[in-house]
Symmetry: C2
Subunit: 453 residues, 2 copies
C-alpha cells in the first residue's frame, strides 16, 4: 500500500480529493487529508474507507515532519508561500512532492538534494500554470515534428462565470479566482515580443490594448496581456519566435471599463486613504475627481473620462454601486482595498452559479513554404459550487500527476515542471478522458509576412 | 575670529561662498572651503585673504572630524544623503550646522543631543525648501495678526530658463535642477486637500491636471501638483484650511506634452529595456506602440495618443528628436534613463543662458466678513552660468542663516527649520536687500463660498 498525504482541504481541493479517493482502491492507496479545519477534512473524506482526516496546523513543524514521514507522496494545496518547508521536508525524507504552484526560488534550490534523494518535486500541475504549459508544448512539439517552423505563439487563459450564469451583470464577470489578484492585475506594466520587436505597455495603457478573441460555441472574448511573456521563450523553447504573448481572458467590454477604474486611480495599492472611515463609495470616486461646486460626481466622471451620454463604461461603473451614498465600512484601506470590497459585494457567485475556465492558443507557423494560423481552445464548466471548473482543472491535473509519479510512469527526478513530454503526454491523455481537451478551430492560411514596423 | 567651514564647492555653492567671503572682514571670519576637487576650492576662494581652500573626501571620517574640530559653524553643501555624518559630528563637537536640505530622519534624531550641546542644526535654508517656508509663514502669520482666517493656501515653485533665453525650444524648459528628479517627478501620485476634501491624482493623470497661473511681468505658467501637500498643514499651522496644494511651475504647454511621454510609458524607472544597445530613439518610442506593418511610427504615435495633425504635443515630442533614427548609445538602461539622456542633450543650458527661479503663493482668507484672494510672486534671474538664480536663492539663504547663527541673532538650539519668526523675519529682511522679494498682485474680492462637491 502507498500512502498519500494531501495538505489543504480548501475549495480548490474538492476535485483533487474526490479523484484520489476514487483511484485509491485500484492503486492500493491510503489517502490522508490534512487541514487545520478537521471537520472540513472529514467532509471531504465523506467516510471513504481509503480516506483519513487529520488536523494539521501549517506552522507545526513537528507534526508536519510526522505526517510526511508516514507518506510516500505529498500533495500540497496550501497557498504558494507555504510550499517551501513542505517540499524541503519531503526531499529530506525521500518523499515525492506535487503542487499546482509556480516553482519559487526556494523550491528551485532543492534541485541537487532532490536528485540525490531520488525524489520527484513536481510543480505547476494546475491549470495556469499547468494545463497551459502541457497543451502548449504538446501542440508546439507536434508542429515541429511535422516540419513546421513556429513564427508566433499567443496564449490566453481566463477564469470566468459560465455563460448561462452571467445574469444582468454588464461586466459578465464574477470572482472565481483570488479577488486581490484580479484587482492588482497588470501592475508594473507588461513586456512581450511582437514581430521580432520587444514591446512594452505601461499599466495605465494595459486595459486599453486588449485583443478581441473568439471561441467557437462560447462567443466573444477579450485578452489583455500578462506581466512578463518573455520568460515563456525559455519554457517553450521559443527563442527564435517573432511574437510571444500571454494574456488573460475577459468578456467584451470588461477591459475598457476596467481601464476607466485605472484611469481614476482606484486600483492603487501603494498608499492608504486619509479618511476612509467617513467615506461613502461616492466620496471615494469623488476623491479622484477635481473640485467643482456646480457639477455632480456623475457629470465630473463623464467629463474626466470623456464618456458619452450612453456610455457602456459609465453604466458598468454605476452598476458596481461606486456612485452610491453608501458607507464603505472600512477604517483603514488603500484605494485597491476599497475597490476590492465593492467588487466582492457585486461580483460574488450566487447560489447555483457555475464557473468556466477558458484557454486558447494561437500559433502561426510556416510549413512547406506556406504560412498558417491555428487556434485551439479548451473550455471547462463547473459542475456546482464545490466542484468548480477551477477545482476540476487544477485538481485533476495535480491528482493525475501524483498518480503517475506513484505508479512510476513519471520517473524523472529533481525539480520538474510539465513542459517535458514524459510528463505532459500521459497527463493530457488522461485529462481528455475527463473531457478536458483542446478543440482545434479551422486552420487559416495567411498572406506572406511583410517586414513591418 | 570665528571659523566657518563650507563643505562642497560645486555649482550650487558659488553665491554662498562669494557671500561668505564678502562678509568675512566685517564679521571677522575665516572661511574654509572643502571639496574633493582642490582646484575648484581655490577658484572659489579666488585668493581672498579671509578664504582658504582645502581638499576633502566626504568618505574620510578622520579628516572630517579634524576640519569640524577647527570650525565654529559648518555649512554642508553636499548631496542631502551625505549630511547626517557631518551633522552628527558637529553636534558631538558642539559646532553649529547649516544646510539647504530637508530634515532627514537621521538628522531629526539629533534633536536631544543638539539641544544638550547648545548647538543649532539649521536645515531647509535653500529656496525649496527654504524661501518657500519663510515667505509662506511671514504672509500667513501677517494675515492672522490682522484678524484674517486663512481658507486656502496654494504654493508653486519652478526652476526654469529665463524668458529671453528660451530660444526655439517649444517646451520653454531647460535643465537647471537635477534632471533625474525632473524625469521622475510625481511618480507615486499625489494627494492634496481641496475645499475640505482629500483629493488624489494617480501619476498617469497628474500632468493632465495642471493649473494655469500668471505672474505679472513674466507671463503665463502652469502648475502641476507635488507628491504630498498634506504635510504642509503641520509645517504652516494650516490644519483647518479648506485647500492646501503645493506644485511645480512650468511654462504653458509643458504639462500636456510631458503627459504624452507618461502615457507612452517613457518615464518608467522600474525595469530595464531588453535590447537598448541596438536601439535608436525611434525604436525606443516604437517599443511602446502596437505593431502595424503599414503604419509609420509617426502615424501610430498620433493615433495612440489621439493627437491632431497640428498638435503642439506632437511637435514637442518630435523636437526632442525622439523619432530620429539615431542610436541611443547606452548598453543598459531603464526607459526613464533613455529619456533623461535625450533630454540632457536637448534641454541643456547654452553658453550664456540664464536661469530663473519663480515662486508664487495664492492665499484665500476671510476678513471682516469678506472673502479675498491674494497672490504674491518672487522671480529671481541668474547673473551668469556660475551665479545662477538657483545658486543665488539657495546660497544667500544658507549664508544669511549661517551669519545670523554666528552673530547670535538666531539663538534657537536643536533641529531648526525656518518656519519660526525668529529665523524667517531676519533672513527675509536681508534677502530683500539682495532683491529677493515677493511682489503682491492686486487683492481680489471673491464671491461668498458655496458648499460644492
Amino acid at each position: 500500500m502507498q500512502n498519500v498525504l494531501v495538505i489543504g482541504a480548501g475549495k480548490s481541493s474538492t476535485v483533487l480529493i474526490r479523484y484520489m479517493l476514487e483511484q485509491a482502491e485500484a492503486h492500493d492507496w491510503k489517502v490522508r487529508i490534512a487541514d487545520q479545519d478537521l471537520s472540513l477534512c472529514e467532509r471531504r473524506v465523506g467516510g471513504h474507507p481509503r480516506g483519513e482526516a487529520v488536523a494539521f496546523d501549517a506552522d507545526d513543524d513537528v507534526r508536519r515532519r510526522e505526517l510526511i514521514e508516514d507518506a510516500d507522496l505529498v500533495i500540497s494545496m496550501l497557498p504558494a508561500s507555504l510550499h517551501p518547508p513542505v517540499a524541503s521536508a519531503c526531499v529530506q525524507r525521500g518523499k515525492h512532492f506535487v503542487s499546482a504552484s509556480y516553482v519559487s526560488g526556494e523550491v528551485r534550490d532543492l534541485q541537487q538534494a532532490a536528485e540525490r534523494a531520488g525524489v520527484t518535486v513536481l510543480n505547476e500541475m494546475g491549470v495556469d500554470p499547468g494545463i497551459d504549459h502541457m497543451s502548449a508544448m504538446e501542440q508546439l512539439e507536434g508542429l515541429r515534428r511535422d516540419g513546421a517552423t513556429i513564427t508566433s505563439f499567443e496564449t490566453f487563459t481566463g477564469g470566468l462565470v459560465a455563460p448561462d450564469y452571467e445574469g444582468d451583470n454588464p461586466w459578465r464577470y464574477k470572482f472565481t479566482w483570488n479577488p486581490r489578484n484580479v484587482v492588482l492585475a497588470g501592475q508594473g506594466g507588461v513586456k512581450f515580443r511582437h514581430n521580432r520587436r520587444f514591446k512594452y505597455i505601461p499599466y495605465h495603457k494595459l486595459f486599453a490594448r486588449y485583443e478581441p478573441l473568439h471561441i467557437e460555441g462560447y462567443g466573444e472574448f477579450e485578452g489583455y496581456p500578462n506581466r512578463d511573456s518573455l520568460k515563456y521563450r525559455q519554457h517553450y523553447d521559443l527563442w527564435d519566435v517573432d511574437t510571444i504573448y500571454r494574456g488573460t481572458l475577459r468578456r467584451p467590454g470588461f477591459c475598457s471599463a476596467w481601464d476607466a477604474l485605472i484611469q481614476l486611480g482606484l486600483t492603487d495599492d501603494t498608499y492608504e486613504l486619509e479618511d476612509v472611515a467617513d467615506m461613502t463609495y461616492r466620496d471615494f470616486v469623488n476623491a479622484y475627481l477635481w473640485y467643482d461646486k456646480d457639477m455632480s460626481v456623475e457629470l465630473k466622471l463623464r467629463a474626466y473620462l470623456k464618456l458619452d451620454l450612453n456610455s457602456a463604461i459609465f453604466d458598468r461603473i454605476a452598476w458596481l454601486g461606486l456612485l452610491e451614498r453608501e458607507p464603505i465600512g472600512l477604517t483603514r484601506a488603500t484605494p485597491a482595498q476599497v475597490l476590492q470590497k465593492r467588487l466582492e459585494e457585486k461580483w460574488a457567485l450566487d447560489e447555483g452559479d457555475k464557473d468556466m475556465i477558458a484557454m486558447l492558443h494561437k500559433v502561426t507557423f510556416t510549413q512547406d513554404g506556406k504560412h498558417y494560423r491555428r487556434q485551439t481552445n479548451m473550455v471547462t464548466l463547473g459542475e456546482d459550487q464545490e466542484h468548480t471548473a477551477m477545482a476540476k482543472t487544477v485538481g485533476l491535473t495535480t491528482g493525475i500527476g501524483a498518480k503517475l509519479v506513484l505508479d512510476g510512469t513519471i520517473s524523472r527526478r529533481g525539480i520538474v515542471i510539465p513542459t517535458v513530454e514524459d510528463v505532459y503526454a500521459p497527463v493530457l491523455k488522461e485529462l481528455r478522458d475527463h473531457d478536458i481537451r483542446f478543440e482545434e478551430q479551422p486552420l487559416e492560411e495567411l498572406e506572406p509576412q511583410g517586414e513591418g514596423a
